[in-house]
């Protein structure tokens, strides 16, 4: 088992109290699995991605454990985490366009980063050049500044850079969101290719765009308001979702063949609850058509079929 997260809780400290952005999350990612995380904005998907690699200053690790390859990650100890970062857990950030220092040549920056991890640049260089070519870049990008590259090129450089030490887990946060559809496709393909080549053992791809996940991910995890709603193979999530939230989320996507002059595209009524003082029980129950008394108690995230987990009383 590559990654195993148990009851992970990460809160944001604010003046008005703790915002419970990630409130007891348990799941596993297998070796070689690309898991997509979907959910609306504010559901905790980015917080989850950050929690696995680097908590920012406002985030607090309240409880739970993360075990990667039999090694527990010291989430709240920034210095101890440095040993695991890059070599074992790596990140493609939301802001890949501005992730590189504008005043350093790309090769120089990679050299600095590698030497910080006591890796010799010259030793890695042939592999680095090979991977750049693999994603369709010339090796002379190493002698260029980030501003000299287009957005899609920067994204691919970051992809190569982030995975250079063959991390066990790669977290891609909104990897394709800032790209046009053709670059999206190229990056999505590169992600899968990198997994297939064994550059990365497993991946967590975070996005609000379910159609991208369908192209990339083996499994999809749906989050709602800091809780997990459903995890299943990508095809199952799209074709046979069980959780009412997943059903409504998939139902809200436009489909090829539907004629929208004749029918209205369905949205989901209402808004997610505040995570400052979240209600007890199932957090979706205010918007859920199936809600009943039992929902005042939080439903467990249970396996209902092989590889299919759902947190809903109406289903299990």
């Amino acid at each position: 088992m590559a990654l195993s997260v148990t009851d992970l809780r990460v809160y944001y400290r604010t003046r008005r109290g703790d915002v419970k952005a990630l409130d007891g999350v348990t799941f596993e990612v297998a070796d070689g699995e690309i898991m997509g995380i979907a959910g609306e904005s504010g559901c905790g998907k980015t917080t989850l991605g950050k929690a696995l690699i680097r908590l920012d200053t406002r985030m607090k690790h309240v409880g739970g454990t993360v075990v990667l390859d039999d090694d527990e990650l010291p989430l709240s100890d920034d210095n101890a985490m440095n040993r695991h970062r890059y070599r074992e857990v790596s990140l493609i950030p939301q802001y890949a366009m501005s992730a590189m220092n504008p005043t350093r040549k790309i090769g120089r920056m990679i050299r600095d980063l590698l030497s910080a991890h006591s890796v010799r640049y010259a030793e890695v260089l042939p592999e680095l050049e090979r991977r750049l070519k693999l994603v369709g870049l010339e090796t002379d990008v190493l002698g260029r500044y980030p501003i000299e590259l287009s957005g899609g090129m920067k994204q691919r450089v970051v992809l190569v850079l982030s995975t250079l030490l063959n991390p066990s887990l790669l977290i891609g946060d909104e990897v394709t969101s800032a790209l046009d559809v053709s670059s999206q496709k190229a990056v999505a393909r590169a992600l899968v290719e990198f997994r297939d080549h064994g550059f990365v053992k497993s991946m967590i791809v975070i996005t609000h765009d379910i159609s991208v996940l369908f192209q990339v991910a083996d499994t999809i995890l749906v989050m709602y308001a800091g809780h997990l709603a459903e995890k299943a193979p990508a095809r199952t999530i799209i074709s046979e979702p069980l959780h009412p939230y997943t059903k409504m989320l998939i139902g809200a996507l436009p489909k090829v063949g539907d004629r929208y002059e004749e029918q209205q595209l369905e949205g989901i009524e209402g808004r997610p609850p505040s995570l400052l003082e979240p209600p007890a029980g199932c957090r979706f129950r205010d918007r859920c058509p199936l809600a009943h008394d039992k929902c005042a108690e939080a439903p467990p995230f249970r396996e209902v079929a092989e590889g299919h987990h759902v947190a809903c009383w109406a289903v299990s």
Partner: protein, 331 residues
């Protein structure tokens, strides 16, 4: 790079021509007649003597020629290094008077600007990562920077000069000494140098420190810093990158400061009666000395242009973004 240099040289050349023209023009638009003043100084009553003296001086300064001829002559003598004769210190040549004053101005301005820049940036960079230092350095920085310069200078002169008596209050060297190459004269020079230098140094220091602190904090929050941190780069590397980027606006600031070499020194040199360019400008205005004023301002103009030219080149070397902006991006 060559095209960039050629364009910059052209721009600076044009600026120089305009500056020299204005420099020639402005004293001629000032009220008062320096020749009348010189004649009056001779205190002669006889009208014929006055007339012939006036004529003599006008010919001597070239003021009897048509105005365009005067302008051309000005350029001509400029290239021969001849800046005319001072009216106030007649018959000393202006170039000599100015060159005598230049070392004093440069002697306080250059160390003050460079040292305050180096020290201020270091203090600011340190303050950005130490809460304790931040809480001390920031208020002190604001206090020193917000103080009216004149007041601070007078305070220093009173405190260290009059009350404590550690340093002399006025002059570039003791009025009883004759400039010469000797240890005692050098020591005296140094003692007179301390207070004007210190006043300029202190005022600039706070601004640099505050600016650097804010820039570093901003840079440390930026995306590339977060990315490096997420990839496990040590704090030292991230700070090194942040510092490097934060230096860019500070380099521009330094250029602007170097441009104000005279403006800053004017008040200093008046407060401490320091015999530099600033004091020379004041004396030239008070004595309606066209030629001295022109000569002094010319040095200032050349200084500003040179400083900016150098910084332009330095900037291109340190910031790749300016390079692509000026030579056409290679996207």
């Amino acid at each position: 790079m060559r095209g960039y240099l050629a364009r910059k040289t052209l721009v600076y050349g044009l600026t120089f021509v305009v500056a020299v023209t204005l420099n020639w023009l402005i004293p001629r638009l000032m009220p008062g007649d320096p020749v009348q003043r010189m004649v009056a100084r001779a205190a002669v009553q006889h009208p014929e003597t006055i007339a012939s003296m006036t004529q003599y001086y006008e010919r001597m300064f070239g003021l009897d020629l048509p105005i365009w001829q005067q302008y051309l002559n000005y350029w001509g003598s400029l290239f021969r290094g001849d800046l005319g004769t001072s009216v106030w210190l007649f018959p000393a040549p202006v170039s000599q008077v100015v060159l005598d004053a230049v070392p004093y101005t440069l002697g306080i301005m250059i160390p003050a600007i460079l040292l305050s820049w180096v020290v201020g940036n270091s203090v600011g960079a340190m303050a950005a990562r130490s809460r304790w230092l931040d809480n001390v350095a920031l208020p002190v920085g604001y206090l020193v920077t917000a103080m009216p310069y004149m007041w601070l200078a007078i305070l220093l002169a009173w405190g260290f000069g009059v009350a404590l008596g550690w340093f002399p209050v006025a002059g570039g060297y003791d009025f009883g000494l004759v400039p010469q190459w000797s240890w005692s004269f050098a020591w005296d020079l140094l003692q007179h140098w301390v207070l004007p230098f210190l006043s300029l140094f202190l005022v600039a220091l706070g601004g640099w420190a505050i600016g650097m602190r804010n820039l570093i904090i901003y840079e440390l929050e930026s995306d590339y810093a977060n990315y490096l941190a997420a990839l496990g780069a040590p704090k030292r590397l991230i700070r090194q990158y942040a510092f490097r980027n934060a230096m860019l606006p500070q380099i521009t600031g330094l250029a602007l400061q170097l441009g104000t070499i005279l403006g800053g020194a004017l008040v200093t040199e008046i407060v401490f009666a320091y015999p530099g360019l600033g004091k020379l400008v004041l004396s030239a205005i008070q004595n309606q000395d066209f030629f001295l004023l022109q000569g002094t301002l010319l040095f200032v103009v050349i200084g500003v242009l040179l400083a900016n030219f150098i910084i332009d080149i330095v900037y291109v070397l340190v910031d790749p973004r300016t390079r692509t902006g000026l030579t056409g991006a290679t996207a």
